[in-house]
């Protein structure tokens, strides 16, 4: 008697989710564009969450969706946006022998781990978590019980870690102001002194052909103005081209 239930449903869930998560993982490492990798990763995360639930860890599964797939992946995507959505790796490997050795070692690692774990775990009885979950009346309560009694110190230390991480992020993302912050009056003076036109910048959407952030708006004479694009995108020259109407713009003031 092996001590686990022969559960067909669980088997189906497992195989489907396992295949999908492996597919997601492979997609993650082989996508050319970084955003695609992020999306593949999200797929893997969701499947893992399902697997957690299948393993009698519903709380963990939910936390996985909320924290990982939700917060962490969103964070990744935001940073990707800053760093360059379109950035893609070239497929050519620059370090000699890296790819070959990496594949060899990676496969070797997988083989050894699978072999070792497989042969040592086969035939091991599985107790199941029903009894453990029943102790405090549910999975969440039982976990809470453990966290706030046996693992209290870990909990406290982890909270200190979180605070530190937040502070670290603030420090790292901070831009230091070397000069005093210019006041409204100074900004106004600079604007009129500079060679850029002193009026408001044309906001996107006004005389615009497109409502995307990276498409420049049209000036009254029909030329596209780069000033309507946020600085970050402009500095990256991440600007979409715009067809210029030959001749004057529509004098009827059609803003479409």
């Amino acid at each position: 008697m092996t001590g686990y239930e022969l559960n067909v449903g669980e088997a189906i869930v497992f195989w489907v989710c396992a295949v999908l998560s492996v597919l997601g993982a492979i997609g993650l490492i082989t996508s050319r564009k970084a955003v695609h990798s992020a999306l593949w990763m999200a797929l893997t995360m969701i499947n893992l969450a399902i697997l957690y639930i299948a393993n009698n860890a519903p709380f963990l599964g939910m936390v996985q969706v909320i924290v990982y797939t939700g917060a962490v992946m969103m964070l990744f995507l935001f940073v990707l946006m800053v760093v360059g959505v379109d950035s893609s790796d070239s497929l050519i490997e620059t370090i000699k022998g890296q790819r070959f050795l990496a594949v060899v070692l990676g496969l070797l690692l997988i083989v050894i781990l699978v072999w070792g774990l497989g042969s040592s775990l086969s035939g091991l009885p599985s107790v199941g978590l029903d009894a453990a979950n029943r102790v405090d009346g549910g999975n969440v309560q039982s976990i809470a019980h453990l966290i706030f009694t046996d693992y209290l110190l870990v909990f406290e230390v982890t909270s200190a870690l979180l605070i530190t991480a937040a502070m670290g992020a603030m420090v790292l993302a901070h831009r230091e102001h070397w000069l005093p912050k210019p006041t409204q009056a100074e900004l106004s003076v600079a604007r009129f002194k500079g060679d850029d036109h002193p009026g408001n910048r044309p906001s996107p959407g006004i005389y615009a052909r497109h409502n995307a952030v990276d498409t420049p708006a049209l000036l009254p004479d029909g030329t596209p103005t780069e000033a309507s694009i946020p600085g970050a995108l402009r500095s990256r020259a991440d600007v979409q081209p715009v067809e210029i109407e030959d001749g004057r713009a529509n004098e009827e003031g059609d803003s479409q």
Binding site: Q98, A102, L105, I112, G116
Partner: protein, 631 residues
């Protein structure tokens, strides 16, 4: 064995004999150049006092009976290690007595002579210091009562000889000659030190009493080994074959040095060693035979070399080599010859010193020129030198009634007693002696004057001629005196033993044959060199003459056998050190350098490479874990 008595009376001054010249040497050598004025007299004074003490000791010893002539004085216990004990102790007996007399009296005369000979030398106080050092060391050698102390004196005379030969060290030839003498001596010294070691292993002690007392109990093989090693030592010090090459070069030193060290005293230390160790040679007859062979070979070598040299000092050196060959030969004959070896040693010391000092006097008058081909007809210019030199010549040739005749004929007689062939060889060598000595005298004092232009021969000052006269008197009367007035045979017999045997020829006939052959040799020399014209430039000569001019190629043999192999060995070692050892060291350094150069390429700076190595390590760890767990 004689009974050894503690010192009494004048013999308690035994230590003073050594201490006086030693202190004199210390003062002169440490005092500095300002001692040049009066220091030289201090040097002479110490040796003169030693001579006086020696004569007093002789008189006292003659007063004792033959059995009571050995005295010993222990200064202090020098070293003791377990069973091994060596004392700083002196011993004087009949044998040492005659040596002490020879060294101090002849030494004193030579010191006086040097006052005149070295009067113009700016370093003369150093010269007298070294001379005193030599006298002290030689007396230590003679008066030691154990082999280790004898070795100290042995080394000391070697050192003094080196210092004196290369006295004019600015001359490269003199410096080289000093080095050569020291190195060849050193080879002999190895023999002596090995002999002492064997003695210690065999007898447990190196004192004379103990060694000679237990000589009968050691195996003949051991005693033969000791005897041969002692022979090696004697060869080095006495310039016998095969260690004879240094004596001729040693003539680079000032003439008083040649007289004292290389004629009268130091070169006789080897004979003393053999005579003193007679207890060993009496038993190890193989070693004694080796001694005889060495003596015969050297006797002829020296004679042939001396006949061909044009340098007066080198010719006399060859003669010394030959005469010491006689002494060594006689010492090797055993109890039949020891006494006569010492007898000839004493007479030779006197007349050879006289001959060398005479040669020095001639050189002094001829602007220090040594080439006999540039001499000639000097007998009127330097009469005293001439007269004393002729007396010395007659003595060394063995013409009666001069001293050499008595001592040399005793040796010839003893040679015949032992082995007829050896006897014949000694007579032939005597004839050659007659030839070369006559040649020397004729080239120097007779014939036509072949002087160079700026030379004005003149007699030497009195301080130089008086010792010459005294030595000439000795050369005349010493032989008869030692044989008839104070019987040397009975004097020395208690120490070394004496045996007499009959020979086929009656003694008088033997003497007559010898005399005839000697006179024949002399006549031949006279005809060649006094009657005929002596060319100023040396003619080519026969192959023997040419070989003899090259010291019978002794230097070349040494070069091939020793010097070239030594160079080869050191070149090999230099190469080995350079390529192998340096190669090893440099190679390992280069290896590590190269290794680091290769290894540092792994620091590519790429994070992914580092990650790769990390994963590689992780794979290994996991593999190890899995294997261990699953096995």
């Amino acid at each position: 064995m004689q009974e050894v008595m503690p010192v009494t009376g004048v013999f308690s001054l035994l230590w003073l004999l050594i201490a006086l010249p030693l202190v004199g040497a210390a003062i002169l050598l440490l005092g500095g150049r300002k001692l040049n004025k009066w220091g030289v007299y201090l040097g002479v004074f110490t040796v003169l006092v030693d001579a006086v003490i020696a004569v007093a000791m002789l008189i006292a010893m003659m007063g004792n009976s033959a059995q009571e002539r050995t005295f010993s004085q222990n200064q202090f216990s020098w070293m003791f290690a377990g069973n091994f004990k060596v004392d700083m102790a002196f011993q004087i007996d009949q044998l040492s007595m005659v040596f002490v007399l020879l060294i101090t009296i002849v030494g004193a005369l030579i010191h006086v002579y040097s006052l005149g000979y070295m009067s113009h030398d700016p370093d003369k106080r150093k010269f007298f210091g070294y001379l005193n050092l030599f006298v002290a060391a030689m007396l230590l050698l003679i008066l030691a009562n154990n082999y280790l102390l004898l070795y100290v004196g042995w080394e000391g005379v070697g050192l003094a000889s080196y210092l004196l030969i290369s006295f004019w060290q600015i001359k490269p030839s003199a410096a080289a000659a000093g080095k050569k003498a020291f190195i060849i001596n050193r080879v002999g010294d190895v023999g002596l030190s090995l002999a002492i070691m064997v003695m210690f292993v065999t007898f447990g002690s190196v004192g004379f009493q103990e060694v000679f007392g237990s000589a009968g109990q050691a195996s003949e093989g051991t005693l033969t080994a000791i005897g041969l090693l002692l022979l090696l030592a004697a060869c080095g010090k006495s310039a016998q074959f095969p260690l004879q090459a240094w004596l001729l070069d040693a003539m680079e030193g000032p003439t008083p040095v040649s007289a004292l060290i290389h004629a009268a005293t130091m070169v006789t230390a080897g004979v003393y060693l053999i005579a003193r160790s007679h207890a060993i040679f009496d038993i190890a007859t193989t070693a004694a035979t080796a001694v005889v062979i060495v003596g015969v070979v050297t006797m002829f070598m020296g004679a042939v070399i001396g006949s061909a040299k044009d340098d007066i000092k080198k010719s006399l050196a060859g003669s010394t080599m030959s005469q010491i060959g006689y002494m060594v030969l006689a010492a090797g004959l055993g109890p039949i010859g020891y006494v006569f070896a010492i007898f000839h040693l004493l007479t030779h010391g006197v007349f050879k010193a006289g001959l060398f000092l005479g040669a020095g006097s001639v050189m002094h008058g001829m602007n220090d020129n040594v080439n006999m081909r540039r001499y000639g007809a000097l007998r009127t210019a330097m009469f005293v030198t001439y007269a004393t030199f002729i007396i010395g010549t007659l003595s060394i040739m063995g013409i009666p009634p001069f001293s050499g005749f008595w001592s040399k004929d005793s040796i010839i007689h003893a040679a015949f007693e032992s082995n007829t062939l050896v006897g014949v060889l000694t007579i032939i060598a005597a004839a050659i002696t007659g030839f070369y000595m006559t040649r020397m005298a004729a080239m120097t004092f007779y014939g036509k004057a072949r002087w160079e232009d700026d030379v004005h021969p003149h007699e030497s000052p009195k301080v130089m001629t008086i010792p010459l006269i005294i030595l000439a008197v000795g050369s005349t009367f010493l032989g008869m005196g030692l044989l008839f007035w104070g019987n040397i045979e009975t004097w020395l017999e208690p120490v070394v033993g004496l045996k007499k045997e009959e020979i086929a020829i009656p003694e008088a006939l033997l003497m007559a044959i010898t005399l005839v052959l000697v006179l024949a040799g002399a006549a031949y020399g006279w005809i060649q060199y006094a009657r005929r014209e002596v060319p100023a430039i040396a003619p080519r000569g026969s192959w023997l003459t040419r070989a003899a001019r090259q010291d019978l190629h002794g230097d070349d043999i040494n070069d091939i056998l020793v010097v070239q192999p030594a160079f080869w060995v050191s070149r090999f070692l230099v190469w080995f050190d350079g390529s192998w050892i340096d190669g090893l060291v440099n190679g390992s350094a280069a290896f590590f350098g190269g290794l680091s150069g290769r290894l540092r390429r792994y620091q590519t700076g790429f994070i992914r490479s580092y990650a790769l190595s990390m994963v590689g390590g992780a794979v290994l760890v996991v593999l190890a874990l899995v294997l261990v767990r699953l096995s």
